[in-house]
Subunit: 237 residues, 4 copies
DNA sequence: CATGAATGAGAGTTCATTCAT
DNA sequence: TATGAATGAACTCTCATTCAT
């Protein structure tokens, strides 16, 4: 787990009750930031939903920005933990990829487009207010996918004629897009959607021209067969 | 071109000078909205960049929202015009797709990720303050791609086993993502990147080839036959 | 007619066209001030109704305040002219009073409650921005009524046991009040209303206890009659 | 007492200190609205007079409009409470009317003409932003007077040949007018003024006395009789 | 003479943040 | 520890007024 600098305004979060309060605040903050985006989210709304005063929020967090950083970090922590716990038990490039795609999509769906937008927009703000911490988490989050792809390329399961970063984009990109479509509809079959998406992407990621490769192999096999036949028939002579 | 209701606060934008002012304001507004997002963008910053007073901005636009709507609409107008002018002269599913991808990516690169985020986030706000006008433009913008894909499916050039909306997402999605990567680097070869992306997507969009599967099976059969022949001929020796 | 200082911003209103423009502006200004009150009235609305630019208004008037002063003054001028022209031809305290009441009510009804409120509220603003000119007009406007009442008191037609200012208030006061009631109804019969109001007020203004006066007179008459009868009958003895 | 929906911007006005603040703000707001009217009154002036920041005002009230509504409602509440508490203990049409007139005039004098104008102008704005609540209060406020008059008409104490609304106007109307006169003078004897006004109005409200007319006729007859008797007796001489 | 264009000076309102209790 | 209370700073938006053309 990432160790946050925590930035408490004036207290050490030691007691059990304090820990719970922090969790409550973070949960509500995640909600509000998701629904409104960073700028439009207000501390008073969070306080009201929590049933506490605004000042209480500031007792536990140094400010709105810090609160938002924590929300984003926690989100990454959760999904990273999930992936790092399960991925090692999945075998095969294809299966690993399918797993990563499904996990990512699940998260996005559950946490909603708001949080997704928050992480995308605010996480990459020009002014580095959200700092390098989040950048680091982003890298840690995408690392497993990058590894899987690198291994896949080495094993010949994935095309090696393109930069990994482009492959990564073509995996994460569609998912966010699918999400926007999803919110207009009532229900979305995540399992089905992620499966289809995975199939589509997998096919795109394949080394190009499998037909040609198969044909070349067939040619080689035929040539070998012909040679063998030649030898057999000539030995009969 | 979309005909805007214009909504000027007090003035009829008739003269040449007026038109220029409006263009200047829109250009700066596009910048600021791009960099800061809707909520964090301020009218005073726009005014300062223009070297005029805030009041001047409100002389030409009814308010911040209207200004933003105009920025988004103008963006759509530009790219839609570009596509509708050129696409008809491109032939072939693959070529059309490559053209659309390159055009889209170009636009995104030129206008930057901020505007992209603005259009995505604010254009889809649940409280449709930005109204149906933008929704309409969105549909008009994606319509050509959808048509190309529908035709491609009908012609057997594109796989028909997935909803068009998913295909659309897997095209538009990566591009936005690629963009985020792009801004960290100094230079990006758009031509190369869009070409690679197009290749990747094109391959993913191909109908899963039954011929290739048959060939692979044939190959396996041949190999088995060879092995058998091997064994047979060697046991005869 | 009151001679206004006119306060033109930078021009002398000499030509015929100019005079017309001034009249047009004043007419529209009266409308707008009536509908919105001084503070809420805007110069741009006046300009728009006139179909000219805001600047034009300021070509003819030094500012909003001056415009408003002129509107109020003109209103007084009109009604004063009306009264001073007709009142001399009316004879009898009662008839004069009825005439004044009807004229006042007519004016109020025609010009609407807005203008009435404007004249009442703004004409008496704490900060004497509207100056002494209006105060003078107010005095000139009420002067005829005051004169009629003073004469009436002298002639015994009107009670003399109360200050004239109180009598004046009890005449002008109800009319403004009636006006407020009037605007909620569709139509008001001004003739009937002013008649009734005049009757009511006239009765209140009568010297008190006409019954007692009549009785006293009767008593005197009876005493005289008795005395005469006495003389007659005693002369028969 | 009217129960207000209160509409505090952010705080629940529970504690003693809060209640006091609210009262202070309302008192100052009443002052400022009175002096300047709704449009010209500014929140910053209120804040300055209170010695607090503008934000504090908005902490307790949702906005300028709400503040004004509260000011007007509170005014009505006060006077309505006063009337409803005392009127039942007054007997006789004349005494009731005198009491109502004195109470109304007292209120107007204490609160000044500004508040009066505010209530008249803003309370009857066509765009009923101030809503039905005030209209209701207005009705509740005038109800006792209307009842007294209706009873008076039934009992023959008050003339029944005119609409009640006209009678009401002729009572409330003069009072507001008297007020305007009052502010120019240093001191006003409210007791005396209200007594005189009440006398005047009472006389106006009396049923036109047919007895008096009959008496007058009788007097004329007697005079004629006397004249005849005069001529007769002198001619006999 | 009329006006297009611009603006300074505010207005109401919001909100993250502080601090004594 | 929690909060009632207060606020500075900022924001969007309005409008009477000026002035070169």
């Amino acid at each position: 787990m990432t160790q946050h600098k925590a930035l408490p305004a004036r207290r050490a979060p030691s007691s059990v009750k304090s820990e719970q309060r922090i969790k409550d605040i973070l949960a509500v903050a995640r909600e509000v930031f998701s629904e409104r985006g960073y700028s439009s989210a207000t501390t008073i709304e969070m306080a009201r939903r929590l049933g506490v005063s605004e000042a209480t929020v500031f007792t536990y967090f140094a400010g709105k920005r810090d609160l938002c950083v924590r929300v984003i970090c926690d989100w990454y922590d959760e999904i990273i933990a999930e992936i790092e716990a399960t991925l090692p038990h999945v075998t095969g490039t294809r299966a690993k990829l399918f797993f990563l795609i499904r996990t990512h999509l699940y998260r996005l769906m559950i946490d909603g487009p708001g949080l997704c937008a928050l992480i995308l927009s605010e996480g990459r703000a020009k002014d580095d207010t959200f700092g390098s911490e989040i950048l680091q988490l982003q890298r840690r989050y995408t690392a497993p996918l990058m590894q899987v792809m690198a291994d896949g390329v080495a094993a010949g399961d994935i095309r090696g004629d393109m930069p990994l970063s482009l492959l990564r984009s073509s995996i994460y990109g569609p998912m966010e897009h699918v999400l926007w479509d999803a919110i207009s509809k009532k229900t979305v079959d995540i399992e089905e959607t992620s499966n289809r998406l995975a199939q589509l992407l997998w096919q795109g990621l394949q080394p190009p021209n499998p037909n040609a490769a198969a044909l070349e192999q067939l040619q080689r096999d035929m040539a070998a067969a012909l040679r063998l036949y030649d030898q057999t028939s000539s030995s009969k002579k």
